[in-house]
């Protein structure tokens, strides 16, 4: 009887560990999705403004840091007239804690990047 309790406990622990691993698998996917949304919003603002201003870049970086990104490097076309190409290139690291073995957790760093081109809609007289 005690053997059965121990075995049931071990099976339960292993099942919970598998469930935790499964849930943690989605963390970087969710972070990348959020990064795409933030960068897309910035690119849309760049289209109407004709480029990436310093304030806009700082706002985007602070939003990414709030989301958990580190070592953010953002490069964007600063000023272009209507019809010219605007490019936004953002690279950042996302660090999260992950279950790598049954009772071992490690910090995993995932490098993510966003690179999209659009066209300026600002008319410069």
């Amino acid at each position: 009887m005690p053997v059965r309790v121990i075995v049931t406990g071990i099976v339960l622990v292993v099942t919970i560990a598998v469930l935790v691993y499964v849930v943690e698998f989605f963390l970087p996917l969710s972070a990348k999705s959020d990064m795409n949304v933030i960068c897309r919003d910035t690119l849309l603002k760049m289209e109407t403004a004709g480029g990436l201003s310093t304030n806009e870049r700082l706002d985007m970086e602070s939003e990414l840091m709030t989301r958990g990104f580190l070592n953010i490097v953002a490069n964007g076309t600063e000023n272009e007239k209507q019809g010219e190409a605007l490019r936004l290139h953002v690279e950042a690291d996302y660090t999260y804690n992950k279950l790598t073995a049954l009772f071992i957790r490690n910090n995993i760093t995932q490098h993510m990047s966003y690179d999209k081109t659009s066209m300026s809609r600002k008319v410069i007289n």
Binding site: V7, T8, V11, T15, V18, L19, V22, L29, K116, S118
Partner: protein, 104 residues
């Protein structure tokens, strides 16, 4: 031995517990996890492609003929629109200029 006596039997087997636990993990949890993960990844990829196409579509507005807008006509320079669309789509989806995939 009838069914009721089998159900009421309190004696069990540790090996059975381990086998059932492993079977639940392998045949229930892992397929469910695979299904959800694949669905999430496909939706994420579709959203990325949709965003790239949306950016490209918005940019083709630059091919609109401003002169005709004054006459309350909305018309595009088709050649310019196609050129803008193809070039930006290739840039945003990481394709060659002829929209074929880049080499790995």
């Amino acid at each position: 031995m009838d069914l009721i006596s089998v159900i009421k039997r309190k004696k069990g087997s540790a090996v059975t517990d381990v086998v059932i636990g492993a079977a639940v993990i392998v045949f229930v949890l892992l397929p469910i996890f695979s299904f959800i993960a694949e669905k999430f990844i496909v939706l994420d990829k579709a959203q990325m492609i949709k965003d790239a196409v949306d950016m490209t579509n918005i940019s083709t507005y630059n091919a609109m003929l401003a002169g005709s807008l004054g006459k309350e006509e909305v018309s595009l320079s088709h050649g310019e629109a196609e050129e803008i669309f193809i070039s930006l789509l290739a840039a945003n989806l990481n394709l060659k200029p002829d929209l074929s995939p880049m080499p790995q």
